[in-house]
């Protein structure tokens, strides 16, 4: 069993959804960001999405966009973020680690070189926000060669037929985007979420996690009842800006991930 499978199987046995925390790597700076990630893991995060800042984050709302710009200004690059990832892996051997980025940053590094390095470090997978089914083969091949999961996205706009093509031969997990739109905390979860997720889980060979808009214990709890994992990004990035907030937020979210007895 690989690390991601072990995590979901343990979470399932413990009757909670996996808590996946998106951290903007290098925000506000590399040192603080590493501490925030340690904090997230120590307070219950099962998987960390390591967001690589990009100058043109087309899929992100104001919080993550601004954090990325700060991180770049403070010297974050893919190279020093990979060094940080290696340290995080040393400290937390059981936590899932997924590189989360826009394609250009990875493409510039070299896809084969990147995948080889991620395997060496012990990162579990890659998610490229702007790499849909139509373009993913060029990254899928090196991912496969280096035992990395390529995590695909499915959105409410995706048809059942298309979703099937996206998930049919993938490993790791599937990331379901809860809303049409960009990242950022939202007041409520869309009403059709449970129905859409049930359909997706039926066809997916791997666990399905949900992200975009989840910011509180309550919204995490709603999602935990119908998904295998809960992703929180903007709310965590906002919390990182205030001392002590990140730990409290992650504990709250982790509590929200616990399912009612079933």
């Amino acid at each position: 069993m690989n690390r991601i499978e072990s995590i979901f199987s343990r979470c399932h046995a413990e009757n909670h959804a996996a808590l996946i925390i998106f951290a903007e790597a290098g925000y506000p700076d590399l040192k603080q960001s590493e501490q925030d990630i340690d904090t997230a893991i120590e307070n219950g995060a099962d998987i960390i999405e390591l967001g690589i800042p990009f100058s043109d984050p087309m899929a992100d709302g104001p919080v993550i966009s601004a954090a990325g710009q700060t991180a770049i200004e403070h010297g974050a690059t893919l190279v020093n973020i990979l060094e940080m990832a290696a340290r995080i892996r040393q400290k937390h051997p059981e936590t899932g680690l997924v590189l989360f980025s826009y394609f250009n940053v990875m493409y510039n590094y070299g896809l084969e070189a990147l995948c080889a390095e991620l395997q060496r470090i012990g990162v579990d997978g890659i998610l490229a926000v702007d790499l849909p089914l139509e373009e993913r083969d060029e990254l899928l091949a090196p991912c496969r060669a280096h035992d990395l999961h390529l995590i695909p996205l499915v959105s409410p706009a995706t048809s059942a037929e298309r979703a099937h093509a996206i998930v049919q031969d993938i490993t790791g997990f599937v990331y379901y985007v809860s809303v049409r739109g960009i990242t950022g905390a939202r007041a409520a979860m869309p009403p059709e979420l449970a129905k859409n997720l049930a359909q997706l889980r039926e066809i997916s060979p791997v666990p399905v996690v949900v992200g975009f808009g989840i910011a509180s214990r309550d919204s995490a709890h709603i999602v935990a009842s119908c998904a295998d994992g809960v992703v929180v990004g903007s709310a965590f990035v906002s919390a990182c800006a205030q001392p002590g907030q990140a730990a409290a937020l992650v504990r709250e979210l982790r509590a929200g991930c616990v399912r009612e007895n079933s």
Binding site: Q69, F103, N104, Y107, N108, D130, P132, R180
Partner: protein, 391 residues
């Protein structure tokens, strides 16, 4: 359909937009085969936009250069003052056909914004245009024009606050509001099918120019010159000659203060391959893949990428891409004003400047066509400022 040009192009975009892009492609290919779609477009191109645009022999400019005969394809005479409207008309007709309720667009110099606002007014559709805060300032007259036409201009302050940031903002808005909202992209960049669609709509320039040149000179031109930011006016005029191997196609990138200074917008000449705004293409970026701010005196060329088909043609040698710096463009601007009584856009002045270099090296029997893509009224303040700082 092949969505790539060699290794370039493609659809590097969030999953949420993929179904919208597929539907757009399907509907566009249907419209392309539909005579009624073309009939409506042709009627408006003629009676509303004022096509065809003249191919004008610039006699005094030719005499000044003392070489090849220089002809200007007068896209500056179109309604709204630039070639942009050829494309916005096509896209907005498509948006109506698809039942979209609202238009959004990005704009740099403001010409595409004005052209989209114009179509929105003509068809009674609500419209929002995203524009970098830096451009809002340096292209103020165009902001006023858009507002007069009933469009809301959203000033974007993030990043370098120029065209690329406006495009990021427009793509975010589109992600949240498609398919009800139609995104009118102003250049041959963006994810497929936009580069194909925009080329098709702009190719009217090249088809007219080819016929006009044959009528007026009895031969094909020896060279066709156009400025390249994203590259829509260039691909539009090149399209008319892409099967004529005797015609040299020359794209002109904005050299700003010189490619060596780093302050420029010459993606093909000074960039490397990357992915931005949905397409793989030449991109100005740092070694670690962060897109860099660009610089040109001309807002319309101030973009870090270039249409993927241009990237492909550059590699193939099917077209040639040269660089003209700010000072050369301003010099060409002054010359065209004084010799021909034509005030060109700063963007188009880059193409004129390239003709000033090429014409003297060619015999008098040669013919050069310069795509005069827009008029320069919007640039008066800019040029005054530039001259103040460079005298």
């Amino acid at each position: 359909m092949n969505t790539h040009y060699g290794i370039y192009g493609g659809q590097y975009i969030a999953e949420t937009l993929m179904p919208t892009l597929k539907e757009l492609e399907r509907q566009y290919l249907l419209a392309k085969e539909d005579a009624s779609f073309h009939a409506e477009m042709d009627d408006l191109l003629r009676h509303y936009i004022g096509r065809e645009s003249p191919l004008y022999f610039a006699k005094r400019l030719t005499e000044y250069c003392g070489g090849a005969q220089i002809f200007l394809k007068r896209e500056d005479l179109n309604h709204t003052g630039a070639h942009k409207v050829n494309n916005t008309l096509g896209q907005v007709l498509l948006a109506r056909r698809m039942g979209c309720k609202r238009l959004i667009a990005e704009t740099g110099a403001g010409m595409h914004g004005v052209a989209t606002a114009t179509m929105a007014a003509l068809f009674g559709m609500p419209c929002e245009v995203f524009m970098g805060a830096v451009d809002v300032e340096r292209q103020a007259p165009n902001v006023e024009r858009m507002e007069c036409l009933g469009t809301t201009v959203r000033s974007i302050t993030e990043g370098s606050a120029t065209l690329k940031d406006a495009m990021n903002a427009a793509i975010r808005e589109w992600t949240a509001t498609a398919p009800e909202t139609f995104y009118v992209i102003g250049t041959v960049a963006g994810p497929y099918p936009y580069p194909m669609m925009v080329k098709d709509f702009q190719s009217v320039i090249g088809h007219e120019a080819r016929r006009q040149c044959l009528e007026q000179t009895g031969k094909l031109p020896d060279e066709v010159i156009a400025c390249v930011g994203g590259g829509s006016n260039a691909i539009g005029i090149f399209a008319g000659f892409e099967n004529d191997t005797s015609v040299r196609l020359t794209g002109v990138e904005a050299g700003g203060e010189g490619v060596a200074t780093g302050n420029h917008a010459a993606s093909i000449n000074g960039g490397k391959v990357g992915v931005l705004h949905g397409a793989k293409t030449y991109l100005l970026q740092r070694p670690d893949g962060q897109v860099t701010p660009t610089y040109s005196v001309s807002a319309g060329l101030d973009y870090p990428g270039v249409g993927p088909e241009h990237a492909y043609w550059a590699d193939l040698g099917k077209a040639h891409y040269e660089v003209i710096n700010d000072d050369e463009a301003i010099h060409a601007f002054d010359l065209l004003c004084r010799l021909e009584g034509i005030i060109p856009a700063l963007e188009s002045s880059h193409a004129v400047a390239q003709a000033l270099k090429s014409a003297p090296q060619r015999p008098k029997t040669d013919v050069i066509i310069v795509n005069l893509s827009g008029r320069g009224d919007k640039d008066m303040e800019n040029i005054r400022e530039w001259k103040k700082h460079h005298r």
